[in-house]
Each structure stands twice: as structure tokens, then as C-alpha cells.
């Protein structure tokens, strides 16, 4: 019986009634789980007035803790375990008395019959409270027993399969090899496999062929780029400051550090510590200091007339919110103004976190000249040499100045002796004639000033020489590349709770600490950012490992095990597979936070390797594929759509890291928004398109202006990078079709692909096959080939009839056209190639 109930509990999430029937004739209500079934109801409908926020609590009654819910209150007990009749809360939700009814009518909320039944069952079963699931540290669960024991390939699969078997859903067959290779190559590198890679994989009949391919991809330098992209969203990376004028900044060294870290497979705990506190590590390396720039990626303001304290506060708020979203998966932002309404985060907790980030020697308004202090400088060799030379020239000029100053009294007395009456005006001559010992102090000063200004040019020259050299140095140093980093002030700032979150309303003083509802800082950890980082990756921490593996899962399957990847609190979603999440989280820690190993684990699973084809029945039952009865199929991210087109066409520049670049963009987009006459005072105000190889770099290097993000990427759901994003939307609009059909990037890629087809394949049929193999790693079916051949014939006839149009089409893009190819044919192949680049399959991972 007990076993049955437990099983039922696991099953309950999707279709309680159906499953209950499936269990048999047992009339007992299924076991209600507080965290899965009750907390979401409480959170959504009750906690606003009867939850953690003490200031907004009504009737002094709280329902979020067992103490609050069981204590006698105004002569009645809100909840009496097992006893509906004496549970006041039960009466209140069922009463016909409008004054007593909960939730009250004016709240706009209403419990459903199903929710009321769950609530009643829960009270009857003992009203057992549990701490919120995500705040309880994960424990490695045993692998579930499954019937189809031949299916699992690793630890992930029993969890998925057990659930499917309980739902009586079959798994899907393994995807065909080529599809699988394309899927995993796109997933691990953001680029499509080459036809050679596909051919080699198809030819490798060994059982380890797929694993070898995965290992090869994990070693690719493009793996780091792919992994970095999601991290850039989370870290709100951009190339401009974001507020108001939105001028340029340079955090490209930090971006490169992220890519390199993924490629070197830096452990996730170390990756965390360096980004939150690299500057505080003992003997911190330059790279570790660069890493600390994670929390300088927020927006920065220098709007004229703005109040520095207001923006300094905004930066700190951003750091707290970003850090909490990225590592804790908690929406602490709510506690900026008041205690959190749903989760156990008090306003004091919030400002204790804030205090960790409060000691950076920075200004509230800064950034008008580029990066805002504190920064690290990265002079080139020439710059370093010039800097050294100028510094030594300054030292020499200072010595010279001192010497000239020292010689002044002697020179003055000689001059006085000469009594150069001819050049001195009357009053000063009078002074000279007064014997030195009889002059007043004022007279001495006056005469000295007169001599210095009028008769001692050496001093002015020495000063000017020094100043001019100093100016040269300043100018040189302004041009030296920098990276914004974190550092600590020697004397920390005082931190106060800010009343209602207002920057100018300090309340009680607070000191840095972690939220009381989470484990304390590890013993021996310092109470600073380093301690905070160590705490996040400490074994006792319930959230970090879950939150991170969930986002990895989201990368591959489109939706995390917890769909609300940014919210693991009580308003977040209950995990689709809670035990799998805990298994992955503990596995991640057990393997030493090995990021590559975690990616490998996921892509080696049978779950991941399934075919992505679906059926109407499955769609009806599980439209989002949360049960994973088939493999993932969804549109590629904005960046990878373009990267893929560049790769297929042969245009892609595979350089890693470096400066941001400016590919084709319609004219005037920035300028229409920028300040017109003042614009020249700042960088990133007018768009200067790149040329040559920089036009074809991977899209993650596209210059990201926050107030006018790259338009094609924004159209394909790239976030604005104004604040931390850990889950991108995925929408379909006609504007996306217009981009792929008409953006010069894609027209040029189509032409270059056309050239490849014409020069590398021998027959028209082969050309179409080659286009398919390049774009979607498979051969076209006969009918597909026929459609494209017909299209080719039609376009060819049209361009033969109108050669001028062919030349116009071929002139799109700055890369040279292959002059050996007949323009009408190339134009026709360009259109065929464009067709292939626009296919749903091409822009979809499947």
C-alpha cells in the first residue's frame, strides 16, 4: 500500500485522476505532497497577505510556516491535522459568508474545486508541512526501476523512462545518425557539422562512434563560444553602458575569459569564485581579476544632472539581483522594497547581500570616456614603451623644474644687482632699491613674483615642459585598453537597509551576510565576496547545483526540468522530474563540478538521442514534450542561425575572442536615437560597419548596443542585455522571415553557398544534394530534389532573360563574386541556396 502511494505521488503531477484510476480500485485519495500540491496554491493565493512579508501580513496570521498555521489564533486553529471540522482555514475557504471567505472576493483570486479538494485531502492526511523543496539540499536518489531495462544508456534515462512507463508512453527510436550528429554539433558548438564530419561519422560503425564524436566536439574551441553565449545573457554582457547616452565600453577581455574558461573546462566552482571574487583571491592573477568583471557588466549611467547615489544604488541592486538569479534561482529582487511575499527572504537579507557588493571604489556617475573605474590596463608593447618613456621624461622634467626653482633666488639677486631699470616699471624699481633686509614680507613676495613672471623665463618653460609631457601621458593612457573589474576599498562603506528600496532613505545598518533561510557562510570563509562565492558552491548549498544543471538541461531540451529557470522559489514551477534534477545536481558536485562531463552526460543519454518526430496523440497529451517521449526539436537561437549560414557558405571567420565587430546593418538605426549635436562627444553613437573578415565573425562578437540592439538578433528573440536573462523567449513572427529572406548577410551567404555548389559539385542534382548535406546533414528525398530543380530551372530562365538582375543580386555583400561562374546560373543557385537557408529544418535543431 505504501509503495503504491509513493508511486502515485510520483505520478500525480500530470494526470491525477487518470493515474488514480490506473492504480486500481483503491478509494483512498492520493497522497498529497505539500511542496508539489499545496505550496503553489498557498503561494499564489494566500502568501501575499499571510506569507513571509511581516509588514503586509493581515490578521497577524501566517500560513507559510507550520508554527503560524497550527497556532491558536483568535480562539481558533487555522489548521488541525486530520480534522477538517476544526480547521478554521477549511471553513473559510468553503464559507458562503462573504466577510469570512478566503481568498476574499476583492483579491480577484478564487480557488478551483480541484484545489479545494487537494487542500482538504492534505488536511485529512495530516497537514504535513515541508520546507520548500529547493531549500532542502539535494540527496542522490536511487535510480528508478524500469521495465525496458535495455533502453537506458546512463543515469538520466531511468528517471525519464520510469515516468514514461508509468504514463504508458513509449520512447522514440534513436535519431538517425546524421540527424543526431547535426543535433549534437549544433548543441555543443553552435555550428553545423561539415559534410566530411557527417561522412566520417556515418562510416564509423563502432559502438563508440557517437561518444568519439561527442569527445571531439567537447574539445572544439567553438564549444567554449557556444557555452559562453548563454552565460553572456545571464551576465548581461554588452558593449555599451545602456543608460541614456549609451556610449561604448570594452568588456571583451572578460568575454574571452569566459570562452577560455569553458574551453579549459574550468570547474564550475572555480568559475564561480573567480567571477564573483577573482580580485580577492590570494595572489590573484590578471586573469582572475578580469573574471571579476562579471559584476561590472551591469548598465552604467552618466546622464547630466542625474544623482550619483541613485545610480550607485541601481548598480548594487543589479549585482544582487543578477547574482541571485544566476546562482540561486531566487527572485530576491522582491525584497529590495519589502520582505519577499512568497519566499523566505527578508528585506534585511536583501541588504545583507547588497553589502557584499558595496565596497567597490566606483562612482555613481561614470563611463563617459569608456570603461568606468575600477579598471585594469592592458597596454600594447608600443604603448607600454611609450608610457615608460613619458614617465621617465616626466621624472626628468620634474627634476629640471625643481632645479630651476632652486636657482631662482640666485638669479633674482643677480638681476637686482644689475638693477635693470629699463625694463622694470616704477613701483618695482622702488622695491628693488629698498635693501633686502628692510623689505616687508609682502614686498619680498611681490618682488619675487615680479621677477619670476617677467624676468625668469626658465621657470615657465620648465613648467610647460612638464605639463606637456604629462598631457601626452594622459592622452596615451586614455587610449590604452582596459577591463572593468571589481576591487575592494580599504575602508568599507557602511550599508543600510533602504526603506521601501529608496536610495535616499537609509534605515537600520546591516553588514554582509547570506539569507537566514539558507545555510550559513562556510566555516573559515571570509565575510566578503570571496566568502559569498565559496558559500554558493559549498556542498551544503541546496540551490546552486540544481539551478545550474537545470539551465544546462534547458540548453538541450528547450525547457528546464524546472521550467521557471529563473525562479526556484515557491512561485516557480515544480520540477517535471524532481528526482532527476537532484540526481544531476549531486552528480555535478560528485564529479567535481566538471562542466564538460555534465554536458557529455546529457548528450550521451538515450533520452537526448531519441528521434524528435512526434505524433498527434503525443502532442495532445504532452504538447511541450516535458515527458521527453521524443527528442528535442526547436528553432536555433538568433546567433546560431547566422553562424550556421556563414559556416555553410564558407564565409565564417573562426577567430576566437577579440574586439566586437559591426556586421551589415541598415543605415541610421543608431543615429535616429542618438543625441545629434552632442553625439560626437561619445563613442558608439554612429554605426561604423566593419569590412573584410570582421564581417563574418561569429555572431556572439557582434557589437551589442543596449539602446539599439542588433536588429536581426532582437527579431529572433535575443534579449536586450539590459538585465540578467537566463531563459530566452522563442517566438515566430513574419519579421523573422523577412530577415532570412532579405538581410544582405543571408543574401551574401546564399551567393557564396551558390558558388560552392557550382564549383564543388558536378551536376545540378549533386548540387542540391550538397546544399542539403551542408545545411541539414542529409540527402534530399526525390521529391525535395525535384522541387528545388524546378525552382532552379525557373530562376535560371528568368535570369537568362534578365542578366542585369542577376548581376544586381550577385553584387549584394562585400565579398568578391567568383567571376568565372556564369552570372545567370550563379544567381539561380543563389536563390536555391536562399531557399535552403530559409527551410524550417535548416533553422531548427531536430
Amino acid at each position: 500500500m505504501r509503495k503504491c502511494l509513493q508511486l502515485c505521488c510520483v505520478l500525480y503531477f500530470f494526470a491525477p485522476h487518470a493515474l488514480h484510476r490506473a492504480i486500481g480500485a483503491e478509494p483512498v485519495a492520493p497522497l498529497v505532497d505539500f511542496n508539489r500540491d499545496i505550496r503553489p496554491i498557498f503561494s499564489e493565493t494566500c502568501f501575499k497577505c499571510h506569507g513571509p512579508d511581516a509588514n503586509k501580513r493581515k490578521g497577524k496570521f501566517r500560513l507559510d510556516t507550520r508554527e503560524g498555521a497550527f497556532a491558536e489564533h483568535e480562539g481558533r486553529k487555522p489548521l488541525v491535522p486530520g480534522d477538517l471540522a476544526h480547521s478554521e482555514a477549511w471553513r473559510r475557504i468553503n464559507t458562503k459568508d462573504a466577510d469570512d471567505l478566503m481568498p476574499p472576493a476583492d483579491s480577484g483570486m478564487k480557488l478551483t474545486a480541484q484545489q479545494i479538494k487537494l487542500f482538504g485531502d492534505w488536511i485529512k492526511q495530516g497537514a504535513r508541512y515541508k520546507d520548500h523543496w529547493s531549500l532542502i539540499p539535494p540527496v542522490t536518489p536511487p535510480l528508478p526501476k524500469v521495465k525496458k531495462s535495455s533502453w537506458p544508456k546512463n543515469g538520466i534515462d531511468p528517471f525519464i523512462l520510469a515516468r514514461l512507463e508509468q504514463e504508458k508512453l513509449p520512447t522514440s527510436p534513436q535519431a538517425d545518425k546524421a540527424t543526431l550528429l547535426r543535433r549534437v554539433t549544433l548543441d555543443l558548438t553552435g555550428l553545423p557539422p561539415t559534410p566530411d564530419e557527417v561522412a566520417a561519422f556515418l562510416a564509423d560503425k563502432s559502438p563508440s562512434a557517437y561518444e568519439k564524436a561527442v569527445d571531439r566536439l567537447l574539445q572544439s574551441p567553438h564549444y567554449g563560444e557556444r557555452m559562453a553565449l548563454d552565460w553572456l545573457d545571464a551576465a548581461r554582457y554588452a558593449d555599451t553602458h545602456g543608460y541614456h547616452i549609451d556610449s561604448g565600453r570594452d568588456m571583451t577581455r572578460w568575454r574571452k575569459w569566459v570562452i577560455d574558461s569553458f574551453n579549459q573546462n574550468k570547474r564550475f566552482d572555480q568559475f564561480t569564485i573567480e567571477q564573483l571574487a577573482g580580485d580577492l583571491l590570494p595572489q590573484a592573477t590578471t586573469e582572475q581579476k578580469i573574471a571579476s568583471g562579471f559584476n561590472r557588466n551591469h548598465m552604467i549611467n552618466f546622464e547630466g544632472g542625474a544623482i550619483p547615489e541613485e545610480y550607485h544604488n541601481a548598480y548594487l541592486v543589479d549585482r544582487v539581483n543578477t547574482t541571485a538569479t544566476v546562482w540561486l534561482g531566487l527572485t530576491v529582487a522582491c525584497a529590495q522594497c519589502h520582505d519577499h511575499k512568497y519566499d523566505p527572504i527578508t528585506q534585511k537579507d536583501y541588504y545583507q547581500l547588497y553589502a557584499f557588493f558595496h565596497n567597490v571604489p566606483e562612482k555613481g556617475l561614470d563611463g563617459n570616456l569608456g570603461n568606468a573605474a575600477p579598471v585594469l590596463h592592458f597596454p600594447t608593447a608600443d604603448e607600454a614603451a611609450a608610457q615608460a618613456r613619458l614617465k621617465s621624461e616626466i621624472a626628468a622634467a620634474e627634476t629640471k623644474l625643481k632645479q630651476v626653482e632652486a636657482e631662482l633666488p640666485g638669479a633674482q639677486s643677480i638681476w637686482e644687482k644689475e638693477r635693470s631699470a629699463t625694463t622694470a616699471d616704477e613701483s618695482h624699481l622702488t622695491l628693488v632699491r629698498i635693501p633686502a633686509e628692510k623689505r616687508t614680507a609682502e614686498q619680498v613676495d611681490e618682488l619675487k613674483k615680479y621677477f619670476r613672471d617677467k624676468h625668469y623665463p626658465a621657470l615657465g618653460a620648465a613648467k610647460e615642459a612638464l605639463q606637456s609631457t604629462r598631457r601626452d601621458l594622459e592622452k596615451l593612457e586614455k587610449g590604452i585598453a582596459t577591463a572593468m573589474v571589481m576591487s575592494e576599498m580599504e575602508k568599507p562603506r557602511n550599508t543600510f537597509l533602504l526603506v521601501r528600496g529608496q536610495y535616499d532613505k537609509p534605515g537600520d545598518p546591516v553588514t554582509a551576510n547570506v539569507p537566514a533561510s539558507l545555510p550559513p557562510l562556510p566555516a573559515g570563509s571570509p565575510t566578503n565576496r570571496l566568502g559569498l562565492a565559496q558559500w554558493l558552491v559549498s556542498p551544503a548549498h541546496p540551490l546552486t547545483s540544481r539551478v545550474i544543471v537545470n539551465r544546462y538541461w534547458q540548453m538541450y531540451f528547450g525547457i528546464g526540468l524546472v521550467k521557471s529557470a529563473e525562479d526556484f522559489g515557491s512561485q516557480g514551477e515544480w520540477p517535471s522530474h524532481p528526482e532527476l534534477l537532484d540526481w544531476l545536481a549531486t552528480e555535478f558536485q560528485r564529479t567535481g563540478w566538471d562542466i564538460k562531463q555534465m554536458q557529455k552526460l546529457i548528450v550521451m543519454s538515450a533520452t537526448y538521442q531519441q528521434s524528435s518526430a512526434t505524433t498527434p496523440e503525443l502532442l495532445a497529451k504532452d504538447p511541450e514534450n516535458r515527458l521527453l517521449a521524443h527528442g528535442p526539436r526547436f528553432r536555433l537561437a538568433a546567433e546560431f542561425i547566422r553562424d550556421q549560414a556563414l559556416a555553410i557558405s564558407g564565409l565564417l571567420n573562426r577567430e576566437i575572442g577579440g574586439k566586437s565587430v559591426s556586421p551589415y546593418q541598415p543605415a541610421g538605426l543608431w543615429e535616429e536615437l542618438a543625441s545629434r549635436e552632442d553625439g560626437k562627444n561619445w563613442s558608439a553613437q554612429s554605426y561604423t560597419q566593419s569590412h573584410g573578415p570582421d564581417l563574418y565573425r561569429r555572431t556572439m562578437y557582434t557589437f551589442w548596443k543596449r539602446t539599439s540592439p542588433p536588429p536581426t538578433l532582437a527579431t529572433f528573440d535575443a534579449p536586450d542585455r539590459e538585465s540578467c536573462t537566463v531563459r530566452r523567449a522563442r517566438t515566430d513572427t513574419p519579421l523573422q522571415a523577412l530577415v532570412l529572406l532579405n538581410d544582405p548577410t543571408y543574401i551574401e551567404a546564399s551567393r557564396k553557398l551558390g558558388e560552392r555548389l557550382m564549383t564543388e559539385a558536378k551536376s545540378d542534382a549533386d548540387r542540391i544534394a550538397m546544399a542539403f548535406r551542408l545545411a541539414i546533414a542529409r540527402d534530399p528525398k526525390a521529391l525535395e530534389k525535384k522541387v528545388l530543380l524546378k525552382l532552379y530551372d525557373r530562376q535560371l530562365a528568368a535570369y537568362h532573360a534578365d542578366p542585369a538582375s542577376a548581376l544586381k543580386l550577385l553584387a549584394v555583400g562585400e565579398s568578391p563574386r567568383n567571376e568565372h561562374l556564369e552570372p545567370a546560373k550563379l544567381a539561380a543557385w543563389t536563390m536555391v541556396a536562399s531557399t535552403v537557408l530559409n527551410l524550417d529544418e535548416t533553422i531548427t535543431k531536430q
Binding site: 542625474a306 538569479t325 525562479d567 535616429e672 528573440d717 525535395e784
Partner: protein, 488 residues
């Protein structure tokens, strides 16, 4: 043979979508899409086309045209007439009025705060006898059609937070704009045009203008299809709308037919309904290639209409007049929310000269828009809004001379006007003190203003929400009271 037959069947199925924007093709497409590709989030059962299953109230307005005056127009010199101010000209602003309120870093260092009476004449107009500055002679003629709100107020005192606040309901970035909320909430009436369109014009009065930001028409945490789509003058009205050089409509159609055929085959293999959406997405893009240029082509507008708006070839108004006429054409075609951004209203110095230019840009076209909508019977269910992110100080910024002065930002009160769509015509709402400094009657915070806009659209501002990071967010945050006194 089999292959040929299969191919022919593909061609036949193509007719389902058709080749034109009329007839069975577009009807079939519309039913397939249910208006979802542009507005998107709606439940198929929704009566509104958006996420709201039905409107909360009978709507007075079905669409909005928002004439946003970026930079902060001076309410003192245009609408908020205070005859007594003349007596205080050049006198220090009394401390009892300023009450120690925070002011921007641009004037906080000034040693004196001399009041400046406007150097423009005010006269009364219309049956309502509304006082209007001589700078707005055309607006003066529509005073009986508009409601002038003089008691707007905002906490923000700088451009970035203030424009972000009024457009998104929050001073810091990250929230959806008003138009995005409407797109999300009630979708669009147009199958061929976006729900939310933005057009930008450059003010001729002040080239040292304030920057604006795409977040002002962004979707924030809402799905990105709700972000405003920029329509631009010159070149493509919508980015990437035109076929590339050397690709004519026929070539495009035959290419798109091939894309659709191949996509339908993929749909058969994968069973993924996303592929049908993709097919529809391409057909709508094709239709937009016709409908958008048709929309922006003003050549068929009669001369008297062009003249009424004051559209000339010189573009001395920075494009505002043309955008006003386009806005009318957009709402005629069912676009839900049209946002015009006219820049250059930041008169810190040389106010008299700059504001003349700014007013000349906008006065005639804005008035023409109201008249034109009224004449076409569209004003009844179209809400027109005019105004900026804040007002300006009564005291002078910088030197005050006989013919020159400047004014700093002022959020404690400012003026906007509304017309049509269930707004009481011919009224003034709210009052400020003799210094145009503080609201003394019927304050309208921008949350109240936004709540009122939603109310005219039939939406309860507390019930259009989006759950993000565990919280049910709304345009008005936890604030906002509908201003009943503005509603018919």
C-alpha cells in the same frame, strides 16, 4: 509517375495559401493563424486576440495613437497659463513653493532661482474658453475636442528614468512598454501589420537633443513579438522588407512556394505544429511586403489632406507631419498602438527660440490628426495622446535676459492632452499653483494616467498581468487609480 503526381499535389496545395493578399488565400491564412503571429500570446478561444479572454469593460477606444514629445515640453509656456506669474517674473522662487524638493544636478548648484513668466501670449479658445499659448495656433482650434491634463506628475527628474517610467511604468529598464502590454493583452485587429508600430521624428528646434532608447517600445519580459516595430521613412518602411536587388516579386513568389512545399514535407516527417507556424510566418511576411509599402505610400492621399497635416517635401518638421498621417492610415488598418516619438523638447537654454521650432513641427500635424480622425468617424474609438516625460521649471536655468531663458526638468507637474476614445472633450483637468510648480487639485500620477489609458481600452489595469520571476507584474506596478473625471 509517382513523383510527378506527388509534385503536382504539392502545387495544388499551394493554392491554399494563394498568391495575393485578398480572397480565399488570406482568409485561410487568417483562420490558421488567428492573428497570432503578430500579437501572439492569445488563447484561440480569446475574444480579444490577446491573452485576455475578454475585455473587463466595454471599450471606448480600440486603438491608440501616442504622440510622445521626448525631452519634456514646457507646460508653462504652452498650456498652464498663470496670469499672476508675470508679477513674479525675475523674482526668486519662494521657498514655500519649492519645499526643498530635489532638483537635478544641472541647476542644484545655482545660487538663485528666478521665476520666468512665459514670453508668449495666451488667449482663450473654443466654447471651453481654454487658454492656449500663441505657439500652438492649430491646437487652439481643437481645444473643444481634447482634454488637457495639467496635473500630471512623476518622481523622475532625468530623461532616461523619466521616459522609461512613463512608457513602461518603471524608472529602471526591464519592463514592457505600454504598446507591448496592449499587444500582449488584446492582440491586433490587423492580419497584415504589427500590433504595435513606432515612428521617430527629429525635432527642428533643438539638435542637441536627448537620446531615446529601444526599450521605450520594448517588450521587457513579455515575449519579444510584442515589441514595437519601427517604421522608418526613406528606404524600407520595415527593416528587411524589400526583396534584394535583382529579385522581383515573381522570383520571390516562386522561391517562397518552394520553401512552403519543402516545409510541408518536413511537417509530414516530424509532425511538429511549429512547422505550420513557420509556413504561415513566411506567407505573412510575403503579404507584408505588399501591405506595408501600400500603407506608407501617401501618393494617393488628396492634396488637401497633405496640406491639412502640413506635409511638405522639405521635411522641416523632422518627419512628424508625415508620421501623423501614417498613424491615421495605420489605425484605419487595425494597428492597435501607434507610437510617435518626436525629439528635441529639452529646452535647458534658448527656450524661446527652440520651443518655437518644436511647436511649429508638431502643432499643425497633431491638430490635423485629431480633426482628420474626427471627420472619418475614427476619433470615437481611437485615443490620441500628446505629451512628454515631464515638464519644466518655472525658474530659469542659466541667465535670464530680456529675450532668453532656459528651464530645467520638472516632474512635480506637467501637462498632457488626450482626445477621443471615451475621453471627455473640451475640459481641463487638474490644477497647479501660481508657479506651475506643485499640483493643487486633482493630481494625476503617470500610473493613474496609464491606468486610465488601459481603462479606455476596456482593460482593468490591475488585471492585465504577466507572471515573471514569481510575481504578477503589471503596467502600473502596485499603483494607479483610473481618473474617472477624464472619462465620458
Amino acid at each position: 509517375m509517382n513523383l510527378e503526381r506527388e509534385y503536382q499535389s504539392l502545387l495544388t496545395r499551394r493554392q491554399f495559401f494563394g498568391r495575393t493578399t485578398t480572397g480565399i488565400g488570406s482568409l485561410a491564412l487568417a483562420s490558421l493563424l488567428n492573428g497570432k503571429l503578430f500579437a501572439g500570446a492569445g488563447d484561440p478561444a480569446s475574444k480579444t486576440g490577446g491573452v485576455l479572454p475578454e475585455l473587463h469593460f466595454a471599450p471606448k477606444a480600440k486603438r491608440v495613437i501616442y504622440l510622445f514629445m521626448s525631452g519634456g515640453p514646457s507646460h508653462i509656456d504652452l498650456f498652464d497659463y498663470k496670469p499672476n506669474l508675470r508679477a513674479h517674473h525675475k523674482q526668486e522662487l519662494p521657498a514655500s513653493i519649492r519645499m526643498g524638493q530635489r532638483i537635478t544636478g544641472m541647476t542644484s548648484g545655482q545660487s538663485s532661482f528666478p521665476c520666468v513668466a512665459p514670453m508668449f501670449e495666451f488667449t482663450q479658445h473654443g466654447k471651453s474658453g481654454t487658454w492656449i499659448s500663441e505657439l500652438l495656433p492649430h491646437t487652439a482650434k481643437i481645444v473643444d475636442d481634447i482634454a488637457i491634463v495639467k496635473s500630471l506628475n512623476t518622481e523622475a527628474i532625468n530623461h532616461d528614468p523619466a521616459t522609461t517610467f512613463i512608457q513602461t511604468g518603471h524608472q529602471q529598464p526591464g519592463r514592457p512598454s505600454l504598446g507591448a502590454w496592449l499587444s500582449y493583452g488584446i492582440g491586433t485587429e490587423s492580419q497584415q501589420l504589427p500590433a504595435f508600430i513606432v515612428m521617430i521624428s527629429q525635432g527642428s528646434g533643438n539638435k542637441t537633443d536627448q537620446p531615446i532608447f529601444s526599450r521605450l517600445w520594448g517588450s521587457g519580459f513579455l515575449p519579444s513579438q510584442h515589441q514595437g516595430v519601427r517604421f522608418r521613412s526613406g528606404g524600407d518602411p520595415v527593416l528587411y522588407l524589400s526583396n534584394p536587388p535583382g529579385v522581383d516579386a515573381k522570383a520571390r513568389r516562386s522561391m517562397l512556394d518552394s520553401v512552403a512545399q519543402l516545409n510541408r514535407m518536413a511537417e509530414k516527417s516530424f509532425g511538429d505544429p511549429e512547422i505550420n507556424t513557420r509556413i504561415a510566418q513566411y506567407e505573412m511576411a510575403y503579404q507584408m511586403q505588399t501591405s506595408a509599402p501600400e500603407l506608407t505610400d501617401l501618393s494617393k492621399e488628396p492634396k488637401q489632406v497633405l496640406d491639412m497635416y502640413g506635409i511638405d517635401d522639405k521635411g522641416t518638421d523632422g518627419g512628424f507631419a508625415r508620421n501623423c498621417l501614417l498613424a491615421r492610415r495605420m489605425v484605419e488598418r487595425g494597428v492597435r498602438f501607434v507610437q510617435l516619438m518626436h525629439r528635441g523638447w529639452d529646452q535647458h537654454s534658448s527656450l524661446p527660440k527652440q520651443i518655437r521650432g518644436q511647436c511649429k513641427d508638431i502643432d499643425q500635424p497633431a491638430a490635423a490628426l485629431v480633426k482628420d480622425l474626427k471627420a472619418r468617424g475614427l476619433l470615437d474609438d481611437t485615443l490620441v495622446i500628446w505629451g512628454g516625460e515631464f515638464g519644466r521649471t518655472v525658474y530659469s536655468q542659466g541667465a535670464l535676459t530680456a529675450d532668453n531663458y532656459g528651464r530645467d526638468h520638472h516632474g512635480r507637474c506637467f501637462t498632457m492632452w488626450m482626445a477621443g476614445g471615451g475621453i471627455k472633450p473640451g475640459i481641463s483637468y487638474g490644477e497647479t499653483d501660481d508657479f506651475c510648480y506643485n499640483v493643487v487639485k486633482d493630481p494625476v500620477h503617470i500610473h493613474d494616467f496609464n491606468a486610465t489609458i488601459l481603462r479606455t481600452m476596456g482593460i482593468d489595469h490591475t488585471r492585465l498581468t504577466f507572471k515573471f520571476q514569481g510575481r504578477h507584474f503589471r503596467l502600473t506596478d502596485v499603483h494607479g487609480e483610473v481618473v474617472k473625471g477624464l472619462l465620458v
